[in-house]
Amino acid sequence: MESVVIGINFGSTNSSIAVLAPNGHFNVIANADGERMIPSVVGFSGDEEFSGTQALQQAVRNPKNTLEGFRKLIGKKFEEVKVSSDVTHPDMVSKDGVPAYKVNFKDQEHIFTVPEVVTKLLQHVHEEAEAYLGAKVTGAVLAVPTYFTEHQREVLSQSAAAAGINVLQIIQEPVAAALAYNFGQAPVKGDAQDKTALILDMGASSFDVTVLSARSGIYTILETAHDEALGGAAFTEQLVQLVAQEFKKKTKVDVIGNKRALLKIATAAEITKKQLSRSPMAPCSVESVAEGLDYHGSINRLRFELASTKLFAKCNELIEHILEKAELTAGAIDEIILVGGATRMPKFQSRLRDIFPETTMRLEQESDEAITVGCAAQASLIAGFDKEDIVASTKENITVTPHTVKPIGVVGSNDEFITIIPNHTPLPAKRVFEFGQAAAGQQEVYFALYEGEQDPLPPKKEKVEKVDIGSDDEEEEEEDELPAKPTFHKTTLLAEVVLKELPAGAKAGELKIEATVQVDVTGKTTITLREKKSGKQVRAESA
């Protein structure tokens, strides 16, 4: 049977599906309504049960029986969940300690636990995928946020299984995003890539920041943090406040406290916010906000940004905090990967440039879809394996491995330290480098391996926190100095190796000497020097 594997991003607000297309690209597939983003919403209305786009459409009419935002409740106990039962939220009850929704369905009261609701949504997603592909889906990879516990992952896996999905693997969201950008994934063979990325995932309801290192293509999460108060919804809320103020100014009707009115404004503001990411001005119109009065206006991007200054500042704070925790300077970050719709906001990106003036930002993937694509990429990688093998490969005996603490490298002519194996490299590690010989006619070369240490971070300048930021020009003045790339100095001489009897008569740098440095799990080091032309080589192994 041909294997058809998909990647599913089950987001807290939206879900999406991606699949490897025959042309080698990953396609995010559209559902029956033509939407690439399937709202993570389940609704019950009358005799019918809805999921996805249709469920969202009836949300305003039927808020009591429309379930959303249930992803973060997966695997939680009822006591842990803050219940907000009011007119616009469905009632929550406890069923054997598991949070459950009480809904009116077929004129009867029904209780659905969170895992059951998840199953309903995933079933819908699965059906959409099969309808689009016209084939049976044989397996899927899902992604979860880094803060999901083992128990939460287990519950998600069971819910997905109940939905008829063969879950191949559940991976971390930032890892999926990195995979989508092929971050640090060298071609199958060839040069190892040692890079560090900052992955910023701003979805609708949370802001996840992850520092991810790729060493020879193997990912390690160095540090991760998330803030549920930051997220697209928080920014929308700012817009809602703006509109509400404006509305009050225009009509003298106060809508604060009017949940229904605010919900209507929020739906319109969401669209306005997305438009503001593309154009400096966007209209916003809400019909019949309150007391039969409509709101028609337009919002300036600058005004929105000013209103959201505090939120943007908080984002940067979180990023700086995590860098500090990871003991990294901004210069040590090689790439920034932006995930989630809210990262499209121009201000968000320009504020990011305050910290990282020159770092590459990766956002060529549709930022909403990076995780989905990463899941599909992982799914297509492991499609051919037995499920037991996949499970076995994610066991701790393989995934927990020693990492180097300090960088290993060589010392150049003017005593600068050149890293060969950086810190945070999972062991065993192997690196191959090519050198020339220093002088003409030189017949012996000397290779010394050192361990290094990062130079102390430059003292942090006390930043004057500017709460009210004026024009963009002012900001540019701030970015005078570039954050330096971290430098290292040698500390310990680890080993010396000499390759003798090289072919005579070569010009300086003409001979190519290949140095292979291997470090195994115990820290045992093996160095091989090989002259490429003559094949002359020497191999040395530490005790």
Partner: protein, 432 residues
């Protein structure tokens, strides 16, 4: 990764004899979780599970890749047909002379010739048609010249018809018919193997045993020559027929040509058989293996002969030795017999002498002891005579030296004890 870094000479303090020195271990690594995603992680897991090193893993994956490639490699391509240039002279040929054209060259198969499979011919034909089809030529602005296309069709027809293909293969001028020169120097196998391989194509029985090499066994070599001397060839020479049998109005003409052609064919066939025979003869005559086998056979025969001779010689020698030994033994036996006889005589005499001496002793004993009469009795001549007679009887009764000695002892004891008369009487009574 190429480093912009040059390796210096070793420092002066470096002692010349060592190649490496390790000074410190790296700072103890700490455990951390890696993320189980991406192909590099899969490689890591694979290495871990199979406990392979980097280079072992690389080798293993390369092998697996190569195997996968080989499995996929069955997909057909026309690389086996080669890409030979078309001779402009051939392109200008008149299709009427198709019989004289090189059927294989026309299809671009001159490298394969009789080895070409039906599938290869089909594909080659297709390729040529695609290039030389008159429609194609007309489309590209050329003249409406389908001469070569007709040649292609004729060649294809010929080669796809098994009978016609055999006829053509039989006379294919591009395949040499030559008989190797008997005097040509060089490796016999290299010289003759291709010849036999080439001739094999005419055999009705397949597969055809090949020349083999220096290691072939005698049996193989013999069966090889046996096969080739009985070679059953399908080679025909109909292609060389002077005129097509058809196209003659006159029956006589037709018959005449037919007869002539048949005779010609028979002649050619005979010549060809002769030629093949020559090749085999030649090969046999200079086959180094045959020489070796002959030598071996010779040696074996000689060895047997020598063995036989040796055996005979040995037998003769043994017989002579036995005769001598028998003679010696006979002599020795005779001598010992003689000695024994002489010894016996001597003994007898000695015995006789001893017996006589014993008898004498006894007679002396009887004389000295009052003729064994009871004490006080004076021996009168009668008693003496009587006692001596008794003694003689006793002596006659006691046969042999031992008994005489025993008698004497008894009597001597009797003399000592004084009751000799009674003992004598008892002894006489006992012995006589």
């Amino acid at each position: 990764m190429v480093m912009d870094f040059l390796l210096p000479s070793p420092p002066k303090s470096w002692s010349a004899d060592k190649t490496s020195a390790f000074h410190a271990k790296i700072t103890a690594p700490v455990n951390a979780s890696i993320q189980p995603a991406g192909r590099h992680f899969l490689a890591h897991a694979r290495r871990h599970i199979h406990s392979r090193t980097f280079s072992e893993d690389e080798k293993a994956t390369n092998e697996a890749e190569a195997a996968a490639k080989a499995a996929n490699g069955t997909a057909q391509d026309d690389s086996d047909l080669g890409d030979e240039p078309e001779d402009p002279a051939m392109l200008r040929r008149d299709p009427k002379d198709w019989k004289d054209q090189d059927q294989y060259a026309v299809l671009g198969l001159s490298a394969l010739r009789y080895k070409a499979t039906e599938d290869q011919i089909r594909r080659a034909h297709r390729r040529k048609v695609l290039r030389h089809h008159p429609d194609k030529k007309a489309a590209s602005g050329g003249l409406h010249d389908d001469g070569f296309f007709k040649c292609i069709q004729k060649a294809f027809e010929t080669l796809m018809d098994p009978v016609k293909r055999r006829q053509w293969d039989s006379v294919d001028p591009a395949v040499s018919d030559s008989v190797p020169n008997a005097k040509s120097k060089g490796d016999f196998y290299k010289l003759y193997a291709p010849v036999f391989l080439r001739e094999s194509r005419f055999s009705n029985t397949q597969p055809v045993p090949q020349l083999g090499n220096a290691e072939s066994s005698q049996e193989e070599v013999e069966s090889f020559y046996d096969f080739w001397y009985k070679f059953d060839s399908w080679r025909t020479f109909e292609w060389m027929d002077k005129e097509d049998g058809e196209g003659h109005d006159s029956r006589d003409d037709k018959r005449y040509f037919e007869k002539k052609n048949k005779a010609e064919r028979a002649k050619l066939k005979k010549e060809d058989n002769q030629r093949l025979r020559e090749i085999v003869d030649l090969a046999l005559s200079i086959d180094p293996r045959i020489k070796i086998f002959k030598e071996q056979a010779n040696k074996q025969r000689n060895a047997k002969k020598r063995e036989k001779e040796e055996a005979e010689k040995k037998a003769a020698e043994e017989a002579a030795a036995a005769a001598i030994a028998a003679e010696a033994a006979a002599k020795a036996a005779e001598e010992s017999e003689k000695a024994a006889r002489e010894d016996g005589k001597k003994n007898k005499e000695l015995l006789k002498r001893a017996v006589r001496k014993e008898k004498k002793n006894l007679k002396a004993l009887i004389k000295d002891n009052n003729y064994f009469l009871p004490a006080g009795q004076t021996p009168g001549p009668v008693e003496v005579e009587k006692q001596l007679e008794l003694l003689d009887a006793l002596l006659d009764g006691a046969k042999g030296l031992d008994q005489l000695e025993a008698v004497r002892k008894t009597l001597e004891d009797g003399v000592k004890s004084g009751n000799i008369a009674e003992i004598f009487k008892a002894e006489v009574a006992k012995r006589s």
